[in-house]
Symmetry: C2
Subunit: 371 residues, 2 copies
């Protein structure tokens, strides 16, 4: 089934939860899928060949960060990010919109020009138009390209949400034109509308009218309650095309992912497994463990007996506790790798349960497990 054309196949459904496959020219992605985040051309603290061993089939790169550093010229020299960072499987890039809002020192939205901002590194003024965002993602040689959107930080002010939809829709059209015809790559639209059902539906309808290879739910997981996020997904995912992948951006905890799969979402990305790894927090089948805690000081059991990548199953919690206290880099390396491995094992279990029609049991068992 692997050819150069991007496509999505829905293999099974268990109530709303979907089992599928995304085909790209760089490999197949089993969905529901989790994408580790490689913001600056590296999934923090993990060797590229070790990422492969976790079962990861696609990673995410951040257009905003890569534009600032190493910059487009260097990425062009390498024919894109895959060769530069030595990752030959698929890469999805965000459009830069979200990071402009959250990281840059000064930013302004102009419907015609695009997002105007100052680099958080050197204060240099940059204008990111919808067209430029697509051009940069092409230089990155991204397999799944995201449209430039305006992503408001709050989820209920109708005026702000409505304006964000207008701008995002206008930019989405321009992105599609700039993207052009390219069957081997995909362009995803990003719906806005916060938690407002009416506005979210308006945004979905407008994007479907333009027509994309996949649809993301944007402007969620920005501080709202988990139950509110699940609610808006429950009310609106059915309106998305069944034959296209659905991506919930920036999500989340294993429980967030489980609840969103339950509402029909196929793709996720989040810094949580690696960021937690750097602070000594491990996601395991025993729950979420804070390995800094002195109760692990003499615990000679590993995080996961069954782990078969590298020799992770041989490192005890006691040793990890020691490494964290001694401020040793190896703590971040081991726990980040473990967490990515755990997330991918978690996704595998989700897919197995959808396939067997037992997803609801798995959902009930783990929906509150990691809180």
């Amino acid at each position: 089934m692997l050819d150069s054309k991007f496509s999505f196949e829905l293999l099974a459904q268990d109530e709303k939860a979907r089992l599928g496959k995304i085909y790209t020219s760089r490999g197949v992605i089993d969905t529901p899928a989790f994408m580790p985040v490689g913001t600056q051309g590296t999934v923090k603290g993990i060797f590229t060949d070790d990422i492969l061993k976790t079962g990861t089939q696609i990673i995410l790169g951040n257009t905003y960060h890569l534009l600032l550093r190493p910059g487009i010229e260097i990425l062009n020299n390498f024919g894109g990010l895959h060769s530069f960072m030595n990752w030959q499987k698929p890469i999805l890039t965000d459009s830069g919109g979200y990071q402009i809002m959250s990281l840059s020192k000064f930013n302004k939205i102009d419907l015609n020009l695009g997002a105007i901002f100052k680099s958080h590194l050197d204060g240099k003024k940059i204008i990111l138009s919808p067209e430029k965002s697509i051009q940069i993602q092409k230089a990155i040689n991204s397999d799944i390209v995201m449209v430039l959107d305006e992503c408001p930080k709050q989820t209920s002010n109708k005026k702000i949400l409505s304006e964000a939809i207008n701008i995002s829709t206008h930019w989405a059209k321009r992105c599609k034109i700039e993207f052009g015809n390219n069957n081997s790559k995909a362009l995803f639209g990003i719906t806005q509308g916060g938690l407002d059902k009416e506005l979210r539906i308006e945004s979905i309808d407008k994007l479907i009218e333009i027509g994309f290879d996949g649809y993301a739910m944007g402007g969620l997981a920005v501080g709202e309650k988990q139950s509110d996020m699940f609610q808006i997904l429950n009310e609106t995912t059915d309106l998305l095309p069944k034959n296209k992948p659905r991506y919930l951006m920036g999500v989340g905890t294993p429980s967030d992912i489980l609840g969103a799969v339950n509402e029909g979402i196929d793709m996720f990305d989040c810094v949580m497994p690696t960021r937690s790894g750097r602070t000594g927090l491990a996601f395991t089948w025993e729950g979420k463990l804070n390995l800094k805690n002195s109760k692990y000081q003499k615990d000679n059991t590993p995080l996961d007996n069954k782990c078969r990548i590298k020799d992770l199953n041989k490192y005890s919690k006691s040793y990890l506790n020691h490494l964290i206290k001694a401020d040793e880099m190896l703590a971040s390396m081991l726990i980040s790798l473990h967490n990515i491995y755990f997330y991918q094992q978690f996704m595998l279990k989700i897919r197995e349960n959808i396939n067997r029609g037992t997803f609801k049991n798995f959902y009930k068992k783990y929906i509150n497990f990691f809180n």
Copy 2:
């Protein structure tokens, strides 16, 4: 030849340079050998299973650091450091003496009591007697145990050096008694005497009289000129027993190692490859490269085309330059691993050249190569 008894075999000699094998119950060590430093139970920034892939046959642990953290109780729970850190090959431990001088906030030497110091972590007062140093190294389950010595920071004051010899000799005797009979482990003596030929010979004679499984040259590489260090080695290594390994502590650059092998030294340890790795400095067959330098920004060649561990040969200097600038942990991970691999390749070439009788050519080619 592998049995539980510690022994050393001298296989070949090229002028003063020696090719040998150390046999331990945990594996063979080809000499001249380089021991990566695992101060706190981890070779900084490197997975234990990756250390193996570099060709490393023995690592060094620091008694002072391990005594303070994780502490003897936890090491005892694991039956020693090997299981705790998941490294099954040989470990050499220093005695703690050098770190007490260089790291602890307050220290005093008492001929009878030992080294009295305050922990650099919590200020707690600790007395490290020669007997206690050996007991701790036994708890670590070290394969090569070092005697507690007094290591002065300077290399020419006769009075200070002479006193250090007296104390160190007295302590060495007590260490030997405490070590007792244990054929499967080794106890090494440490000669003092700085750059003073007469005193160095006095120290060597006294230690040989006590009798050890190997002899270290202590109190060198503490700031003196490289040529002075080579000179004192030249004048004294011939006095050490031919059938015992000789260890130059805390050395050094590839050039330091080469010059010391030329004077008949068999073993080395140094933090240089990992510490340099964390600051973007790589040791390569092209020389010492500062990868922070912007001249590498567009250099798409790897550090070592021939490197066959992990996929290190696929990462370009341009990518490493980017990772360093972006303050990404992966830079330290990649360059530290590369440097340890390079050091072990360098030792391999030294051994091959001694074996072929071409050591002098290799020496001439590289003695000034890394300056």
